[in-house]
Symmetry: C2
Subunit: 467 residues, 2 copies
């Protein structure tokens, strides 16, 4: 009997297949799987089938499962009797691409420039989903088995707040049972410096509509005697935050868990390049809540941001119109222990309080996701730390993230399993914006890290610590 | 030698031709002469030619004259040697039609419903331009001559602040020389109740752009640490006016001429139906500057109104974006003796003063027009009052208007001639808005009034009074 292929053989396999990974990521990005826009419904199905085929080729049993919205892809390999089971989660849907004219290359033609692959979804989250199936394929191809049982769930609605995933999880609770959840949808802390994320902000997303007159009016014939909904909306938005960046919604901060002195000190120790961060944004200056550092603002403080606004005449030239309505999309990033539903009630009440005379305002709660933090002492998180150190050749740092993965809280609640966030996107990935990009080196180091992670996990006593 | 045809014969001719006027107005409205949108350039030329043909058929020498923008139509009949000369001004251009989905019938298919003709431009200003050429045609057709000399100037850029007309007037000063200017681009005071307008508000129109980051950012990864241009724009707009409707731009009111007790009392005596006005707007309540009545707000007080706003994600669904820019169109209605150029400087300075940290704001001055008031004692105005009384069978009231006809001030300055505003649009004409409409009865009464006006003017000693 031949010797069992070693981990080195698996890593050699990975190294040999790098050109194939690039080609496969190109094909993955080329599918315009924009979950928010109904015109991409067919692309969503095509993308789900692409992911299922990739999981099947890797050696998992894989299928596309329907939901009330876009389908979920599910695959599993459960041949490691007596070993722990991990559930890997990712998403195949991407953000819309507008403003399209700010892209330097077409968003759905993955374009390689100076080692970076540009395209919508390259970093968020297609490159990171591919990292997992590539590592599983390498292990199964070279060794014929995995050290632990692995289930993979790739959804199609992460960018629209995972609308139907909670129902899906409830319905498939037994099938998805796992000892831990692994999610790769976060960033490196700096180029080449891996990070394990132990906290995420939640989100509450709203749409405000302000209505005055029944129809648009001539601003000369009526101006001065009829309230202007754009002005009213501006007053509402201006009344949501003071000049020091403090949100003015009564009760908004009541459940915010203050960070301790230890965590504050650890954040201050991270090699964060404030001026580099500002340069990356292109903003004339950084700006946020008074009394907090940039990392504290991003990771530990809640926000309120208008995401879009529209009303009246927005075309070329002049139109002397007194518009009948104006709308805005507004979202709050939430931190432990804020609750999106409660924030929704407080938000709506404050909008009504701010609504000026002569118009009416309505608030639609679009979606929400809970914030999350976990302990970094859990053995699965420590296994991930060792794996990233080997894959990237650099010890990881422990970070939080400003973004939301609403499903993390749902996993914690539903499966009772801890979650490990090991993401490999570059910090300047332009996710959700024009010219989204992924470093190819990260993809390759990520695949190596995932190989190490399964290996480390096979040798870890999951009951030895952590929360 | 046969008896000279009487005024009664001319009025009988008008009555016989009512179906023809309706048909001609339909064809006039059907030409989509939207001056603000470059895609309608060809329609503007077609519309100018339509007007020139109508003036020619009426018996004037008529031609289409170029400007740096849309052409001007000019016609004249100067056979009344020794008699005064009047210059009739109107415009053939119309406002854009959006929001198109709020129209009950296509804006460029003039549709007759219950005695009202619906279509863009039916009231503002095509129905009123037609009124003049119809009256001149009737007089010239029945009597072969006019009691005074008449020049007619119909421009194509009134809805874009008459950009090129001042240059045209300068270049054609001799040719346009007149003893008075007649403009029909205002409203009846109430259904069937004619009005002579002796004051107009001016306008100053701006576009504000606020820029933060160089490109759109992920609201999770950056939110809280980078300023939001929509929020900044909302704070700027909210800072332009206080909660009592008072504009906060320093110096804004410095040149506002207060109305006297006599005028205040006259305004209060007008049969103004406040609740009917509110119902017509469909707004939940009227709203304006504290301390003034609705008519005072509309006619004698300056305003500041956002006309449009846009920024960030405005599509279907969610996008968690921190936008890089936001824009608004804002305009001020001005009253004597405010000056649009000075208001522009004050506006820009205040926007810069209000601009929050972390973003930059820029102001583009789009266009401006001066406010205007005149004396109602001038013999030409009194002739118009007698003509309207005969045409409508109802003594006119004296009013001001909230809208702008920027060219009125230019006529006053350039030709040194007084201006008579005799408009026939219904007060609820929805000008500049969806479902613009014109009462057919007004068109017919307007044509009769115009016939009477030329007759009255032929018997008026222009030097007998007025300012």
């Amino acid at each position: 009997m031949a010797a069992e292929p070693s981990l080195a053989d698996v890593l050699a396999f990975v190294a040999q297949h790098e050109p194939d990974y690039l080609e496969e990521l190109r094909r993955f990005v080329a599918i315009p799987s924009v979950s928010a826009l109904s015109e991409h419904k067919g692309d969503m199905v095509a993308c789900a089938e692409f992911v299922a085929a990739a999981l099947g080729s890797a050696g998992l049993t894989a299928e596309v499962l329907p939901t009330a919205g876009h389908p979920v892809v599910y695959g599993e390999w459960t041949g490691a009797a007596g070993q722990p089971t991990a559930l890997v989660y990712g998403h195949y849907d991407v953000q819309p691409v507008d403003p399209i004219d700010l892209w330097d290359s077409p968003p759905f033609e993955a374009t390689l420039r100076e080692g970076r692959l540009y395209g919508r979804g390259a970093a968020d989250d297609k490159g990171q989903v591919l990292m997992h199936w590539a590592a599983l394929a390498a292990l199964l191809s070279v060794r014929g088995s995995l050290p632990v049982n692995v289930k993979v769930l790739v959804e199609g609605e992460e960018e629209i707040a995972s609308r139907n995933l909670e129902v899906f999880l409830m319905a498939n609770r037994e099938r998805l049972a796992a000892d831990l959840v692994v999610i790769s949808d976060t960033d490196l802390f700096a180029p080449g410096l891996p990070a394990i994320c132990y906290g995420l902000r939640g989100i509450a997303y709203f749409q405000i509509e302000v209505v005055g007159a029944a129809g648009d009016l001539h601003s000369g014939s009526y101006g001065g005697a009829v309230a202007n909904p754009i002005e009213a909306l501006a007053k509402i938005l201006a009344g949501l935050k003071d000049d020091r960046g403090r949100i003015l919604i009564p009760g908004f901060y009541d459940r915010v868990r203050p960070i301790g002195e230890r965590e504050k000190a650890e954040l201050a120790r991270l090699p964060f390049d404030e001026e580099g961060f500002r340069e990356e944004t292109g903003a004339p200056a950084l700006h946020g809540e008074a009394g907090y550092t940039t990392l504290e603002r991003l990771w530990t403080r809640p926000t309120l941001d208008p995401n879009g606004i529209w009303g009246g005449f927005t075309g070329e030239g002049l139109k002397t119109v007194l518009p009948s309505r104006a709308s805005a999309k507004v979202s709050c990033r939430l931190v432990p222990d804020q609750d999106p539903a409660e924030i929704g009630r407080l938000f709506e009440a404050h909008v009504q309080r701010l609504c000026p005379h002569g118009v009416t305002a309505s608030v639609r709660i679009m979606d929400g996701g809970k914030p999350w933090v976990t302990s970094i002492d859990h053995p699965a998180i420590q296994a991930a730390a060792r794996a990233l150190a080997k894959g990237f050749g650099q010890e990881p740092v422990y970070t939080r993230a400003g973004g939301s993965i609403p499903i993390v809280a749902a996993f914690q609640a539903l499966l009772g399993a801890p979650t490990v966030l090991m993401g490999i996107a570059p910090p300047d990935d332009h996710a959700h914006a024009p010219n989204e990009r992924m470093d190819l080196a990260n993809v390759y180091a990520g695949i190596r890290s995932a190989v190490h992670f399964w290996d480390e996990l096979g040798r870890t006593n999951m009951a030895s610590g952590g929360q």
